[in-house]
Symmetry: C2
Subunit: 428 residues, 2 copies
């Protein structure tokens, strides 16, 4: 079970412990991945089909999901699910539209004109895991920012079931999000197909979406050839609360994070000894009623903690050090602390903004920096699906004004051909 | 020497050839790098000092550059150089200020309040190579965007000369750019110190700046522990011109790119057979007068080309496929083509906007995506030195409106503890 510790207890070495979760060397997996990638690069569709039928124990002849399959999926899913996904889509789109940056232009004396153009990437690949970890919400969160960024074509890949089908919830979510093409392929072979292109799958510019260790290592291997998103580590929540905290809500939120997987981490930092004890009891009560209780218990035991601290200020310091993926500020006036939060993926303010609201419905992205990387990484956003170019126009007069200074720096750097490029323009 | 080819010649497999430049496996170097990183992680300053004195053949006792050393540097550099750097700084700062994004907030019915905060990273490390490739302009281009992003502390590392000193031009540029601390350390040991921290060098959140293969592999190895910038490959220029092109300018610009190193690539795409021949002759004439002619000749021979094409439209297609780091549009009305350029790091418009203007003076960053990666990467910018957090506030009423839809999606995904986190808030 989760443990209660005092701030003064200097064995709060959670930060190191949290980081260690992510560090595992996978030499043999890496070799398998390299082999698959090389094969896909050389043999295209043939290799992709072979791996798919072998690893997914199925017998698919064609990788592309047909319109008929999507129609059938619509018929088989619940209407309430479709309605929920449609509202989620609307909210996610609304939030991400605010992230869009314009191309811009600036002018200066003597006709100088410069600026920056912003364009959506041409083609993006979205990886969606199959089986147990198959999440329609994840489809929305990865696809919608790309659509808002005006990416030309969005290709989704996901491994088929043994009967060659794809989870209908995933197909419906993909259609609603605006995916252009869906292929039945997963694992390193899917990443290879997206990175190098095959006869049926076009090469993309960027690959996003979570996956197992084969997918993660394959993405890492093709990085540079295409862009990739962050490598996602195990997930965390940190909740800050005082004596006004509602033990029942806090316990439920800590548990909801813990159900993700055994490596997930749930931490409460509170100024109230009483709340610490109440939450402890609530967790014990609630966990027994839940389906994934074995995972929850193990995660809370290994990576969970209730930390009692002397002040909210101190609690925020701990949060900034841990830099959690999700931070709930469950205090009476949460907005006054927003400016003090330096490092967190997403911040949930008040009693009625639980993490699952952000996971599914509110609008901000649920793809967030994990394992302390919120110190330097950011939530997935429209910015991840654009490319920028700068541009420069100088008139002859404008260049003449600065020519000697350019030549001086070029010559200091011993790049005399650079200096020459300026000189030839003003030779008699 | 550079060769002239016709567009119809289907052996224009430049793109593949350009990419191959960057692909070299470095297994043994990687092992050395891993060993150094591990040693620095464990033994801190002691390891850093040992490697520094060994690899840089010097005898430094203290890594930190003193105020006295910086004062002395100011005395030893030319006044004209300082003036040039001061103007460059002003221009670079002016351009990068326009890139700044604000934190923002949005409100919706029932008190919903959401948004995104933008903050500068806390601490950034800038790597500056020593020896031949020691470029003050590079110091400005890596440091100024970080300053504009309001990074709290900027630490520079650069290897010392044999006498334990640092190139005074670099010290002056660092001071002008606003570097907070400078340490005499280079190579993988510098990257290790910045990534893990030592007794004298604080751990940073992100490492930027170019370096040799040891530095590049060390950056790759510490990625995730800290953020890093793009791994820079060999440099390119592609110039598009028609019959109005000035052969002398074009030749000088192709050559200026070629002097960087033997792997640099310079390509002219022109609709004019006459211009192709004139540029060819001009290159032959100019190259003999330049100091770095051996490098220039080899680079032009291996990776240079003059491509004669049927139309500007076709030339732009070739440019978009190659996705060059630098693109010069040397035509009469270059602005009308700006919208057609999909992939390029920086675009130079007209006859008086040569690439060295962008390298040193105009204001846009000279750290640009190379080797075709402009398809998905962007110039270094203020965005590379910030982190974003999203935040969500929902009132009880607002959450109640969407509670059933959240529960529906959570249950579809079989994350029942997520559903429970919503349910407990509305239990009687």
């Amino acid at each position: 079970m989760i443990k209660i510790v005092r701030e003064e207890n200097k064995n709060i070495n959670y930060i190191e412990k949290l980081k260690e979760r992510a560090e595992e060397l996978q030499v043999d997996v890496n070799m398998t991945v390299q082999k698959i990638l090389e094969d896909v690069r050389k043999n295209g569709d043939e290799a992709v089909l072979n791996y798919t039928n072998k690893f997914d124990s199925c017998n698919v002849k064609s990788l592309l999901v047909t319109e008929k399959e999507i129609e059938d999926a619509y018929k088989s899913v619940e209407k309430e699910f479709i309605d929920a996904i449609l509202l989620a889509k609307e909210n996610i789109e609304c939030f991400h539209r605010k992230q869009k940056n314009n191309s811009w232009i600036m002018t200066k004396d003597k006709g100088i004109t410069m600026g920056q153009t912003v364009r959506g990437l041409d083609r993006v690949g979205v990886y969606v895991p199959g089986g147990k970890a198959s999440y329609p919400s994840s489809v929305l969160m990865n696809v919608i920012p790309a659509k808002v960024a005006e990416v030309n074509e969005i290709i989704m890949v996901t491994p088929p079931s043994k009967d060659g089908s794809i989870n209908p919830n995933i197909l419906v979510a993909a259609k609603i999000a605006g995916v252009d093409k869906i292929y039945k392929v997963g694992g390193a072979q899917a990443i290879g197909a997206l990175a190098y292109g095959t006869e049926s799958i076009f090469k993309v510019d960027k690959i996003v979406g979570p996956g197992n260790i084969y997918v993660a290592l394959a993405k890492k291997a093709v990085y540079g050839n295409v862009d990739i998103d962050m490598i996602a580590g195990p997930s965390e929540i940190l909740i800050i609360s005082d004596e006004n905290g509602e033990a029942k809500y806090i316990a439920a939120d800590l548990i909801s994070q813990a159900e993700h997987d055994k490596l997930a981490s749930s931490i409460l930092v509170t100024t109230s000894e009483k709340l610490a004890n109440d939450v402890y009891k609530e967790i014990q009560r609630q966990v027994e009623t839940l389906e994934r209780k074995e995972i929850i218990k193990e995660s809370l035991k290994n990576y969970g903690a209730i930390i009692v601290t002397s002040s909210i200020k101190k609690a925020i310091e701990i949060a900034n050090t841990i830099s959690p993926e999700h931070l709930e500020l469950m205090v009476n006036n949460p907005f006054v602390y927003l400016g003090n939060i330096k490092n967190a993926g997403s911040i949930f303010l008040g009693k009625f903004s639980p993490e699952p609201l952000g996971d599914y419905m509110a609008g901000p992205n649920h793809v967030l920096p994990t394992s302390g990387t919120a110190k330097f990484f950011s939530p997935l956003s429209v910015d991840d699906f654009i490319k920028k170019s700068s541009y420069i126009y100088y008139s002859r007069d404008a260049l003449e004004d600065v020519k000697d200074k350019i030549i001086k720096i070029a010559e200091t750097e011993k790049l005399t051909a650079h200096a020459n490029s300026i000189k030839v323009r003003f030779e008699k």
